[in-house]
Symmetry: C2
Subunit: 350 residues, 2 copies
Amino acid sequence: MDSSRPLKQPSRPGARVTAAMVAARAGVSTATVSLVANGKTRGRVSEDNISRVRQAIAELGYVVDSVGSSLARGVSSIVVLVAPDISNPFFAKVIAGVRESLGADFQLLLSVTEAGEFPRADDIRRILALRPAGLLVDAPDAAFLEDLSTTGPMVLLDAPGLEAYAPSVNLDVAHGARELAAHLASSGHRRVAYLDSVTGTATFAIRRTAFLEEAAARGVTVDPAHQISTTIDVGASAEAFAAAWPQWQQAGVTAVVCATDTHAYGVLQEARVAGVRIPDELAVAGFDDLPYSATSNPGLSSVHLPAARLGLKAGEQLRGLIEGRDLEQPQLTLESSLIVRGSTERATAS
Amino acid sequence: MDSSRPLKQPSRPGARVTAAMVAARAGVSTATVSLVANGKTRGRVSEDNISRVRQAIAELGYVVDSVGSSLARGVSSIVVLVAPDISNPFFAKVIAGVRESLGADFQLLLSVTEAGEFPRADDIRRILALRPAGLLVDAPDAAFLEDLSTTGPMVLLDAPGLEAYAPSVNLDVAHGARELAAHLASSGHRRVAYLDSVTGTATFAIRRTAFLEEAAARGVTVDPAHQISTTIDVGASAEAFAAAWPQWQQAGVTAVVCATDTHAYGVLQEARVAGVRIPDELAVAGFDDLPYSATSNPGLSSVHLPAARLGLKAGEQLRGLIEGRDLEQPQLTLESSLIVRGSTERATAS
DNA sequence: CTGAAAGCGCTTACAG
DNA sequence: CTGAAAGCGCTTACAG
C-alpha cells in the first residue's frame, strides 16, 4: 500500500536491487537468478523460470553488482590501460580504438602517470588489486614489465623489442622513417638536422635509427652535432630550435626531421618568428600525422601512424586472451607511411 | 625448505597474498591486519602489533584487495569520468587535471561514448554497478542527469544551467565570447558569420548567444543565413565553409567565428585552398585555444578555456564530497578570455 | 587492545 | 532442472 510510485521506475533510487530480491520476486533461488542474469541457462534452467526471472529483473531494474561478481569470479570486468602520457592527441585516438574493440563488456580504466614517466611497483600493485580482466600497456620499458610480472591477460602497444614479454601490437615506424629519408634525399637535401624526443621510448630510437641509416645510404649527412632533443612540447621545441638554428644554418642544414609532429609545430612557430622561409630555406617534417598537420601553413609533412587501429587491434587481441582463445598472430605490426605536404615540397626539387 | 627463493621478492608471482596470510605471519587476527593496512590503528592496535603487521605486510608484499574491500565497504575507490568525447585535445587536458587532483587514492575510470552522444540508462547502470566512489560528468544534458538519479558524490563539469543537479565547475565562456565580439567590432567588421557545432551541448549555445548579443550591441550583423553548423571535425568544417563561402563573400562577410578551434582549423585549411587571404579578406576566430592555435599560420585568435584547471577543480570538489566535507563553494566558474593572434589582426584595424 | 563472527553480493560445484 | 551452502577477501560492530 505504501508503494504508491509507479513500478516502471525501477525501485526507489538509492535502494540497491540484489539478486536475492529478484529471486524472491520470481520465486526461485539466487543461484537461478545468477544463471539467468549471466546467460548460462543452457540446459540448466527451465523456460518457465527463465521468463519469470527475466520479468523480475526487468521489473526491479536489477543489474548484477560487479563488485560481488568480481569477488566470486576472481576477476573484474575492468581492463586497465597503462600509459605514460595522455595529454597527446595521438593518444586520444588510441583510446578511442581501444574503447571500440572492448565494447560494453569491459570498462576501461586509465592508469596515467606523469608525462614520460612510468608507474612504479607501488602503482602496479594498486592496479592489480583491482583484479583487472586484462592489461593494455602502451610504450613500456623492460624494467616496468619485469616489475609487473603479472600472469593475467596482457597486450603491449607500441613496444618494439619487448615481444618476449607479451603479445604486442606495434607500428612499423622504420618504414615511414626510411620513406622520409628517401624523400628528403630526392628533394636535394644533403645536410639534415634531427630533433628528437627526450623520452627514452623505444619508438623514438627506431624512428631516429631508421632515418639515419637510410639517410646515410643516400648520401645525406646528419651530423651528431645537429641532433638535439627536447620534451614533447611545442614551446620547448621552439626554444631548442631557436638556439640551434644559427649553427645549423651556418653548417648548411636545409631540413630538420622531428621525432613528433608536436616538435615540428614548435619549429614551424619559431621559424616564422625568425623569418626562416619554409620549405625553401628549411624543410620540416615530423612523425604522427596529427590532425593539425594537414592544417598548418605550410602543411606539415609527416609519417602517418594509425593510432585508432593501434588501439583497436590491441583491444581485439586482449579480448582474445581474456576469452582464453589462442591468438592467431600474437605479434601484429601496423604500417606507417609518409604523407608529403608543403613543409618539405620545395619548388626546386632535384 | 622448498622456499629457496629470496623473500625480498614479495611472494611467488600469481599467488595472491591475502590478509589471512599476513595475519598468520604476524600472529594476529585479520581484523588487526585490516586496521593496520587502513591506518585506523589510533587507540585500537598496540604499537607492538602495528609493527609486526607492518613487517609482515612488507615481507609478503601484501596489498589490500580492492574487490573484497569494496564489497565490505559498499563503495570502491573508483571515480568514473563520464564524457561524450575524448578524442579531443581539450579533453586530454581535462583528464590530466582530474588525475592530478585525485592522486593515488582513487582510480580513474573513463566512460566514453560515441562522439557527441551520451550514455543510455543501460550504460549508467553498468557504471553504477561498479559502486564508484564518485562521479564526474562532463557536459551532460538534463535528460541524462534525470536518468542517473544517483545519490552518491557527483560533480558536473561544463554543465551550465544544470547547477540544480549537483555541484558544478563551469567555464565562463560568455565572457570570452563578448570579448571576441568587441574585438571584431573594433577591428571594423560589420558582417560576421558563425560556424557552430551540431552537438547540442549547452556551452555551444552560450558561446553563440553571448557572441550574437554583444555583436548586435556593437552594430555587427550576424545574419541567421550566415549561421551554419557541423560536427567537431576539421574535414566537415572545411567542407561546410567551402560550400558557404561564396554566399558569405557576396553578402560582405569579413569574419567568421567558430564554436571550436577545430572548426576554425577547417576554415583555415579551406581558405588556403580557395585562396582566401586571412585575415585581410576574412578574419577567423575560435574557442578552446588548443595548443596548435599558437602555431598555425596565421596564429588563430581564440577564446582560451582553462581545461586542466577545469579537471583539477572538479576533482577537488569531488574529493570533498567523497570525504563528506561540505563544499565551501558548490558552484565554481573559471574565467575565459580572448587571445588575439594573426587570424584576426588586420593591418587596417579601424 | 584483541579476535570471533557476521555480512557485503555474487558464483559455482554439489547433492538431489 | 533446482536450491542450500560454501566461498571469494575484506571490514566492522560486538563482546571480551
